[in-house]
Symmetry: C2
Subunit: 168 residues, 2 copies
């Protein structure tokens, strides 16, 4: 396979994966494009390479900055802004984990905790089943939460090293 073809495939695959996981396809594709670009790109170049509009490019780039995945760069004597992607994949993974934890897991944990404190008749099967399921999910979610928090502070080699030692 040719490099140019490979790039296309990578951008497509990343976009598909993103949309299956609740991330806007275009956002994943812009990220993919920047990930494999040695140099920072301008909005113009991104628009052209992915055939998207200026408005779309602008909003998507802003979101990616919000996720901490890319940064704006300025060049002396130039008005244009350049965009460059963080290339450290472990850092990216932690960044995404952190954002999704904050935006999605934390709010659910809050609700689960509220729901865990509902009182009722222990003889009522409706109440018992509700309490059991909510309680179990709450415990699982807390474990996930703690693990993510640790992962966010960890070095990649240490993290996977420990995982695989544990699974040996």
């Amino acid at each position: 396979m040719e490099l140019a073809q490979g790039k296309q495939k990578f951008i497509e695959a990343w976009g598909r994966l993103g949309s299956e996981w609740g991330i806007n396809r275009t956002m994943a594709q812009v990220h993919a494009l920047l990930l494999i670009s040695p140099e920072a790109l301008t909005t113009e170049e991104i628009m052209e390479q992915l055939s998207i509009s200026r408005g779309n490019a602008n909003m998507t780039l802003r979101d990616l900055i919000g996720w901490g995945l890319i940064e704006k760069q300025h060049r002396a004597g130039e008005r244009k802004e350049y965009f460059y992607a963080e290339k450290d994949v472990w850092l990216i993974a932690r960044q995404v984990a952190q954002e999704r934890k904050k935006r999605e897991l934390d709010p659910v944990l809050k609700v689960l905790n509220e729901l865990s404190s509902i009182k009722g008749d222990e003889k009522d099967p409706e109440y018992k089943t509700f309490k059991k399921s909510v309680g179990d999910i709450n415990k699982l979610a807390k474990n996930v939460d703690k693990t993510l928090a640790t992962m966010m502070k960890a070095e990649e080699s240490w993290f996977w090293g420990s995982i695989f030692k544990m699974f040996k």
Copy 2:
């Protein structure tokens, strides 16, 4: 908070989380409803409680069966089908992990492996960056893959026990 109110909140929260993670909102809500039901429910009851159409209920229930999260039950002398959700949360987590791995992670790993084998000029920054990023993502994805495979076979207490020992 009342139990009835709590149930509503749980169904809503589960639906929201589902849609943020690429799972159809209705599917997550039907699953939530069944999770907190001590008894199996009929299509009719599900339609009514969630205010959804027969067609929607039917398709959603079939999907949930496909994910291995609920099962059909028959009752002697009755024509109607009843639906009952697996209540073991750890089993549910493993089931979901397994399905998503199969449907989404495995295809991406296949593409990444192909892309990793592309040859090119080591002096070309375009090639070098492509190769590095794809290679790094590939490694990370393989680690995730192995960890999920182990999790799928593991007992809950053992799994979290090991995780937290490791992070101590």
